[in-house]
Amino acid sequence: MTIAMEVKHRQGDFLLAASFASGDGVTAFFGASGSGKTTLVNILAGLIRPDHARIVVDGRVLTDTAAGVNIPVHRRRIGYVFQEARLFLHLSVERNLRYGRSFAPRGEADAVPMEDVVEMLGIGHLLARRPASLSGGEKQRVAIGRALLANPRLILMDEPLASLDGPRKAEILPYLERLRDESRVPIVYVSHSVAEVARLANEVVVLGEGRVRAAGPADEVLQRLDLLPEGERAEVGALVALTVVAQDPAFGLTQLSSSAGNWVLPRVDAAEGSVVRVRVRARDVMLAVGKPEGISALNVLECTVAALSTGEGPETVVRLDSGSDRLVARITRRSASELQLVPGQRIYAIVKAVTFDESRAR
């Protein structure tokens, strides 16, 4: 499964000129508002007719303006979960869920079992209800189920959490992770939140002012401070895959390991031996040239300085290698100069366990 897109489209003063290719799993379209993310997914879905474009999904040409090809929306088989749930008010939840099935080709309608989707999204008790009586989080879960049950080749999600408050976001995220892990449908996920992208995406396409600023694996892209919008820079960090070693119920902690060493995090609900992805924010990483003793921080990892980058501000971003993992630290330029940091140097990275909150560890 691949998505290849080449688009040139003018909308008023805004020029979108983007091209990229991505594969299975979750691809995030990431960028500040006004960067062209939504326009790009709408073109992919066929809701906007682009000036010039060639779009190929899984070997099927959906749009090729040069050849005069433009498959209409309803034949694209691309599911869409919108920012607002857009449930059909005049139909029950169950009939909303079944809506797309009647249009799926014969023999394919039952390819995605209704019970499985209902169970995965935890919406069994809502089936007889009307959409207007659901909470925001419930509506969005039904919308995800509705898109999934039409048996699409690809699912687009345009900031599906943006209209929800914090607790509701936390309610939906685990379902999105299950969707990523349990269904084989690739997902394009539009977001301006580093936290969501880090938690969900395998690949990231960073958009800015209608152009692709960067594209690549999530762990690489999210380490680059310069790519993130102003308000999200505090969130820059590294993604580390950790294996659960043991639970420590007495202190409410979980021991994990990576190639960098042993980690201790607030309790992670996962079975021993399972792999979880954790985002380590650059601003939460402290550096020490000697092995620190008698400190409260539980995570001390031996690293090598890979690179230093200093911008115009008072900060230096230090990239670290630790085993096969990579970490990022944000420190002041003054600290970098006092510690005389140079690439190749051995150093200890210190991360307080309490800096990991629920939304960043799974």
């Binding site: 809701l47 309803h74 008010l89």
Partner: protein
């Protein structure tokens, strides 16, 4: 209460009025929905002209509309003679002509009500339906139409009420023949033209009020039920 009893002739006028208005509403409803949809959603050359033609019966004197109907749909009119020869359909001086006149006069009101309801339908829901595989016709039938139902009901009731009261165009087009084209307003008018007709005119006036109120209340109840369905 003796004076309240309707004579057989008066009953005939009441029944005829209901039949004329019913058919005028039912037959023009699909056309009204189509025209309202086109006016609300499409941009095309001649849209202003179409809009003007639809609204013409609202602003022309009813007698003029009736006379135009007579010219076109009368036995010797271009459309009337064609329909007569090809299908044996005759409008002039028949109850069907009264229904046609009522439908034409009520059409602008119907289209206005339906058009307003189409404009309130959230187009984003239609886009959502198309991403789920529904082609434009299915989107219209399964999403747009159910969501504009309150407006369709309002338009139909308005048209029915207008058809019940239609007088000028009807009497000009199909005259005032008892049992064939003499609807309630024509019958009331006839009563007022003869000495001693006041009682009959009053009886039929009361009947008109009752029918109009009944239609209005029925539509209120129905619209409220639909509204509740959409809300909860």
């Amino acid at each position: 209460m003796e004076w309240m009893t309707l004579s057989p002739e008066e009953w005939t006028a009441v029944r005829l009025s209901i039949r004329v208005s019913f058919w005028a509403t039912v037959v023009s409803l699909p056309v009204g929905i189509l025209v309202a949809h086109v006016l609300a959603r499409r941009e095309f050359i001649g849209k202003t002209l179409l809009n003007g033609i639809v609204h013409l019966p609202l602003i022309l004197p009813p007698v003029v509309t009736g006379y135009l109907l007579l010219l076109t749909f009368g036995r010797r009119g271009p459309v009337g003679s064609f329909l007569d020869q090809a299908f044996g359909i005759v409008f002039s001086f028949r109850w069907t002509g009264a229904a046609l006149a009522a439908a034409v006069m009520a059409f602008p009101l119907m289209v206005r009500a339906i058009r307003l309801s189409i404009e309130t339908v959230d187009r984003r829901l239609e886009a959502a339906a198309s991403t789920l595989g529904a082609n434009p016709l299915m989107v219209f039938l399964t999403i747009t139409l159910p969501l504009m139902l309150p407006g369709i009901i309002a338009g139909a009731v308005l048209a029915f009420a207008k058809a019940m009261g239609e007088f000028g165009a009807t009497i000009t087009f199909v005259s005032n023949i008892p049992g064939e084209t003499q609807t309630l307003p024509s019958a009331i008018y006839t009563f007022t033209q003869v000495p001693g007709g006041e009682a009959g005119a009053l009886r039929l006036t009361l009947v008109s009020i009752v029918i109009a109120m009944a239609a209005l209340i029925a539509s209120e109840i129905f619209a409220r039920r639909v509204g509740r369905r959409l809300a909860a």
